[in-house]
Amino acid sequence: MNVIYFAWVRERIGIPQETVETNAATVNDLIAELRAREARYDAAFADITALRVALDQELSDFDSSLAGVREVAFFPPMTGG
């Protein structure tokens, strides 16, 4: 699946997006896999209360299923307007 990062999450991880091969069942499972990879991922996902997630461009929850999902985006709370 395509995983996209925005704002300071993108800066902390160091890339805007990547293709991730995973069997993670939920967003939380995917985060656990990413955190186990490298320190920069571990740091970016250290406090998920500071993060939001969108699945296929819809705001979602961290316990949501990833079944059928093609695009996951992680970002801080939005500051539009």
């Binding site: 925005f6 300071w8 461009q57 819809e58 801080p76 709370p77 939005m78 500051t79 539009g80 307007g81």
Partner: protein, 146 residues
Amino acid sequence: MTVRVQTDPFDAGAELNGFAKGRGDVGAVVSFTGVVRDTQGNLREMLIEHYPGMTEKAISAIADEARKRWDLADVLVIHRYGPLAVGAPIMMVATAAAHRAAAFEAADFLMDYLKSRAPFWKKEVTAEAETWVAAKNADEDALKRW
């Protein structure tokens, strides 16, 4: 309904003059324009990042919700991204309705939701530092009144 996400500047006055023009059922037009503010007196520019694809969908969904809640003749939302100078317009909303209460309330609703539910992120750039603007708890709390 018009939703535009763009890097280019816009002329809020010209947009407003053309908005809901010629609609005999419109008795009230309300607009809001957000402008880059230099809070500390040292802002070089504001950088706005967004999520192409989701941004347009999220704004359209918010505008659709406003049209469900209020009897609106038209809705306009323009939001810029990229580097913006102090004093530059960031975004505007306009609502048109038969009476002012619906137009005011819908514009207020749109602004509250665009602030916390449209995927934009603001970064303040000064000579010394680049700082992501943190979302305020008050902005999230503002959604509860709707």
